[in-house]
Amino acid sequence: MVAVAKTKSRTKLAEQAHFRTLRLPSPFQPRLEALAAQQDWYDWAGYKAPHALWDDELEYFAIRSQAALFDISPMVKYRIEGPDAEAFLNRVTLRNVTKLKPGRVHYTAWCDDEGYVLDDGTLFRFSADRFRLCCQERHLPWLLDSAIGYEVSVVEETQEVAGLALQGPTSFAVLRDAGFKGVEKLKIFDLAEFPHEKGSVTISRTGFTGDLGYELFVPVKQALSLWDRLIEGGKLHGIRPMGYTALNRARIEAGLIVANADFVTGDSAIRTDRLRMPDEIGLGFMIDPAKGHFNGRRAILDARQNKTLKHVLVGLEIEGNIPAEHAIVYHRGKREVGLVSAAIWSPTAKRNIAIASLQRPYGDTVVDDLWVEIYAMRELQYHKLMKRAKVVPRPFIKLDRRTANPPGER
């Protein structure tokens, strides 16, 4: 017989209560709730996140014409530290981490042995041996197993760190007026620490909109005061908190892809034909064959050499103005060659744009005579439209203010 000991710890007991709250509140929840006139929430990685707060169209225009504030706290974050952190990340991720200087951020991705993309994300380098990796999916076992043979620690810190994205032409002015001295020195993909209350906030000139913008990370305890500080600083600059619908439009215009929306991540793909190599989702630019060994290197280089890449991710411009969301792509109007994963009418480019995954050679060497089949639901009936599609470069909009130095004020 096994005796039941009565030694459960208090913290473990307190943690039991999580089942009562299925969607975690973000550290900014009190502010979001107060503004969420629509009460239109969705599940972002287990957090309660807004589709829109008051009006998604106004929120979108805040990104392009003023400043928009978006809660990115639910993003999965890993703290990676140790003398071997650089070597470790160079082995795990595609891009050359030795080229990422302290105080810089880069967009990268990582693959399994077969060269299939497990996820993409941003890598922040705080110092020689301290990093943060932000991404959509969870990868702790992969990162820990990758750490075998390296002196490095990997800790998941999603719940400890709050994040905000401040995006739009006046975002710099907001930060300046909020009192972040020296923020004008940040060039695109720079990061620096700025004092906030008794601690500090990490501000990077990064974002997911293709516009001038910043991302800010603080310990959750300082989350609300940071929010208030930004709102206060943005009073005269049209700052407006927003939800995902607006952000999604901006990111499509910027030609950015989203894991498990535009491609399926390796660990969650049940059907093997859904797996994608970096070259198949437009991330080939990250691959640095000269940097030494990294996960998937062999498979990726073999696929390039043997020309066995099966797919390609392209930007499409489609005639007309009806968004081609989830439309099937045809060659010569007959042969099915792919699928649109994201599409909008771009209010800024004034073009009907889409991101699509095509089967090579379509989209790669064969780019003419492509069509999309759009089913537009209007008053309970589908209008089936066959529209011409043209492969165009991404991003669909290019804004000089995104990279301008010093940053513009309006």
Binding site: A87, R91, V92, D112, D113, E114, W142, D145, S146, I148, G149, Y150, G292, H293, N295, G296, R297, R298
Partner: protein
């Protein structure tokens, strides 16, 4: 000379076979062995003044192609020694004796049991024969089979068909069964069933009632000596003679043999092997490095995880390779007497595993890091056939003891004397008075074997030989064909297909793979 066409790491029998084969094909080959002598666990060592023994103590699967490729007979190996009988010891009654090649004859059993055994034996040997070709070749490549692989599989399919309908059905049914059910279905004699149970699970972390345990018996019966399936011998001159003959073949072929040459690192540049660094600091270069060592040691310790992808590292660290067998060496001051065993049968293999359940009970505690007070064992007295192993009048006893878990919960430092006591108590049951004959006892636990032979886990197959770690999954799925993700780095030890035992096949196949790839 520090530059070679190929470097073979590890001078165990597989390393010698691989090096010799490469040298015979005209390659300049260095064979590096950390110890002063070649042979790995098959080498003969002194364990008490005047008493010598080798950890591997029986020859039952030295592959004919290896004998031929190395011309071992011309190099002095004599394989015509007559078969050793297998004696199934009984604690309180008469032993049962299997004579000839794995029980061609059976003495000490009832006539009906002898008949039942002869039928079962024939069936098992027939089925093992189907698997035999699989065990001699490189496993098929799942990501795309060559014509050769497809036709080899076709041949196996054909031989299966040739069994006839009902026999084929039984083959397919029995393939992954446990040995206990098969012997319960066919036999009644506990001694015989105990022996089969022991032989099937020997060397693996399985009990006779564990599904798939019959595979161990098939593996044994797929081995042959002198064309006889299941035969076992101690070659004249002992196991040392095998290594001596192999080493002689290697030197004749021009292999540069370097002993006392501990490899500290396998060097890799741009995902390509460049050579090795020795413990002395010396660097040797070669475009090919064939590691005839434990795969974990070769990949994780010598090459290092940084040269591999994470998924591969995961697979290698998941290889189950914790040994379950301890090795006992006794220096005796005379020939021991085993109850009911005639003196001429003492040159055989004496197995104390009185019933299936006894073996199962010996296995049970090992699942939880303990050992049974009544371990089971296989005993050989090698000094009978090779008198040089013991001083005049003395006798060497060599025994494989199961189950000795690699990670003993209480730790082997504390546990070893207790285990030795349990083992001696069992020995005393079958050989009364043996305790008084012992001049010296050496007990090698899996951690001891690990340390002495650089075999992580101390597992004599360098990784569990269970269904999920066989064939295309050995040593890891996707890399079962002796190559590795690092170009030019090959694996040719027992951790590769088909597995352990003194067969030489992993080394042979690995060398053939190297030659096939480089043209």
């Amino acid at each position: 000379m520090t530059s070679f066409d190929a470097i073979v790491v590890g001078g165990g029998h597989n390393g010698i076979v691989a090096a010799t084969l490469l040298a015979k094909a005209g390659r300049r080959v260095a064979l590096l062995e950390a110890r002063p002598e070649l042979g790995g666990p098959a080498r003969t060592e002194e364990f008490a003044p005047g008493f010598r023994v080798s950890v591997a103590h029986i020859l039952n699967r030295l592959h004919p192609e290896v004998v031929k490729a190395l011309d071992l007979e011309a190099n002095g190996l004599v394989l015509d020694a007559s078969d050793m009988p297998s004696v199934a010891l009984s604690a309180d009654g008469e032993p049962l004796i299997l004579t000839g090649a794995y029980g061609e004859g059976l003495s000490g059993a009832s006539a009906s049991e002898a008949q039942a055994w002869s039928e079962l034996r024939a069936q098992l040997i027939r089925y093992a024969g189907i698997l035999k070709p699989m065990l001699a070749r490189r496993p098929p490549d799942l990501s795309g089979m060559t014509f050769g692989e497809t036709s080899a599989l076709g041949m196996i399919g054909l031989s299966l068909r040739r069994l006839g309908k009902e026999d084929m059905r039984d083959f397919l049914r029995m393939f992954l069964m446990n040995v206990a059910d098969v012997s319960d279905d066919c036999l009644t004699d506990d001694r015989l069933k105990g022996l089969l149970a022991f032989d099937a699970v020997m060397g693996s972390h399985l009990g006779p009632r564990s599904p798939t345990s019959l595979l161990g018996l098939y593996y044994r019966l797929a081995g042959e000596i002198g064309g006889k399936a299941g035969a076992q011998i101690t070659p004249s001159g002992g196991m040392g003679a095998v290594i001596t003959a192999m080493a002689s073949a290697a030197r004749k072929a021009g292999v540069q043999v370097r002993t006392d040459a501990l490899v500290a690192r396998i060097n890799v540049q741009d995902a390509r092997v460049t050579g090795v660094a020795l413990g002395s600091g010396e660097e040797l270069t070669a475009p090919i490095v064939l590691a005839a060592t434990n795969p974990f040691a070769a990949l994780m310790e010598l090459t290092g995880p940084r040269n591999f992808d994470t998924g591969f590292v995961r697979k290698v660290t998941n290889i189950r390779m914790k040994g379950s067998v301890a090795k006992l060496h006794l220096a005796l001051d005379g020939l021991p007497g085993f109850k009911g065993v005639a003196e001429q049968d003492l040159r055989g293999r004496l197995v104390f595993a009185p019933s299936t359940n006894h073996v199962e009970r010996a296995f049970n505690p090992s699942k939880y890091g303990g050992f049974s007070p009544e371990p089971v064992m296989e005993i050989v007295l090698p000094s009978i056939s090779d008198t040089s192993l013991a001083p005049a009048g003395g006798c060497v006893l060599s025994a494989n003891i199961m189950f000795a878990p690699y990670a003993l919960k209480e730790g082997w430092e504390k546990g070893k004397p207790k285990f030795l006591k349990a083992v001696m108590a069992q020995l005393e049951r079958v050989a009364p008075g043996i305790g008084k004959q012992v001049r010296h006892a050496e007990l090698l636990t899996p951690p001891d074997i690990e340390q002495r032979y650089r075999m992580p886990g101390g597992h004599w197959h360098h990784g569990e030989l269970q269904a999920d770690q066989m064939l295309m999954s050995r040593p890891v799925a996707g890399w079962s064909g002796y190559d590795t993700p690092v170009d030019g780095l090959y694996l040719g030890g027992a951790g590769s297909h088909p597995g352990g035992g003194i067969s030489g096949v992993p080394g042979l196949n690995a060398a053939r793979r190297v030659l096939a790839r480089k043209g």
